[in-house]
């Protein structure tokens, strides 16, 4: 998972400046992924270079908020609807993506879950085809490796089922608790000083 997509997803909620973004990112990912402020600023300047965000005038406190451009909005929309391939990702990107989907306005979280489920089961089907072809008892080690991949993919589907079941009961909480309104993030960064 790139920090890029994380920050873009957060900016979908509205303009934010560096410290707010860092706080919101850590909150969304349950602090499993601490970010330093330097990473946030480097990423913001690359996003600006690529035309995905644009800086706004500094506020009274001397902080410069950023907002998404149309290009940035399109980029984040594509990220949410594209399944992550099991072969080229760090394991947690999916968890973080769902955590962000939950708090990003306008994202159909159940659709994100279903898109991933379909992709993962398709991977499972392909693995099963390979297993089916290797009936030779001498292939045991190969089959066990395939099984390892099968069970991992299966675990992911179970977790997706669990997410979906939880979503059915989910009601977004009041502003300021889970969803980070810019003011709320502001309060927190004040408190940390």
């Amino acid at each position: 998972m790139s920090i890029r997509h994380g920050l873009l997803a957060l900016l979908e909620r509205g303009p934010m400046y560096g410290y707010q973004l860092r706080a919101a990112f850590e909150e969304s990912t349950g602090a499993t992924w601490p970010l330093n402020i330097g990473q946030v600023y480097t990423t913001l300047s690359r996003l600006e270079r690529d035309g995905l965000v644009r800086p706004l005038p500094e506020n009274d406190g001397g902080q410069r908020p950023y907002e998404l451009t149309d290009l940035g909005r399109a980029e984040i929309a594509v990220w949410f609807v594209t399944p992550i391939s099991r072969t080229d990702r760090p394991r947690d990107e999916l968890a973080i993506k769902l955590a962000l989907a939950l708090t990003t306005p306008g994202v159909d979280v159940r659709a994100v879950v279903q898109t991933q489920r379909t992709a993962t089961i398709q991977t499972l089907q392909e693995l099963t085809r390979l297993k089916q072809r290797s009936d030779d008892p001498g292939d045991l080690s190969w089959r066990l490796i395939l099984d390892a991949m099968v069970f991992q993919a299966e675990a992911e589907v179970r977790w997706l089922d669990h997410c979906e079941a939880s979503l059915v009961r989910y009601r977004p909480s009041a502003p300021g608790s889970a969803a980070v309104a810019p003011e709320a993030a502001d309060d927190r960064s004040e408190a940390r000083k």
Binding site: T118, Q125, E126, L127, T128, R129, A165
Partner: protein, 237 residues
Amino acid sequence: MILELRGVHRTHGTGETAVHALRGVDLGVAAGELVAVMGPSGSGKSTLLNLAGGLDSPSQGEVVVEGEVLGTLNRKQLARLRRRFVGYVFQDLNLLASLTAVENVALPLELDGMAVRKARKLAAAALDEVALAELAPRFPDEMSGGQQQRVAIARALVGDRRLVLADEPTGALDSQTGEAVLRLLRARVDAGAAGVLVTHEARHAAWADRVVFLRDGVVVDTTSPVGEPEQLLGVQA
């Protein structure tokens, strides 16, 4: 197509308390094709299977098996089609307690008019396929849950069933036996039957050619047909 569901709705009850178990499902299953159905509890999976097997009829739309629109058949014709063409494994196994394993498996063949001797012989072979040859003379209450489940599977696969419908057939089985059952189902389908498998387990659904996802009585997604898998492992190889 061996099985076709066209615009199928199934509503239980009326008015305020009506439950819309299926709301406009289209599904075709060809010979040689295994389709898995997944979805949360209550999404309509068993309802779909019961309709496909003629055990229930749609409130709207039609179910076609082997070119016969089930709604146009009389009870006798329907019963005959079911015995001859359709094999089921139910969510609750439905073994008859007063019959032994081999008698349970032979029953549909005998009901269809096959000589008892021949039916028993085919039944014994089917039990052998699920690795239960020795338990043929036992009664259901003398077998474990998993063994009973395998008897139910043998019963569904015995004879020349062209349409095999299985509702959670691997529920009480360990992962090895579960996989053996899927291999059997797969082999039967590869030999020319059409199969529909309802399952909660992704690992088992993955034996299908296509996986259909139900939610609240509607098909919300379907996997595309499986292509060549080699590319999947390109990164590791």
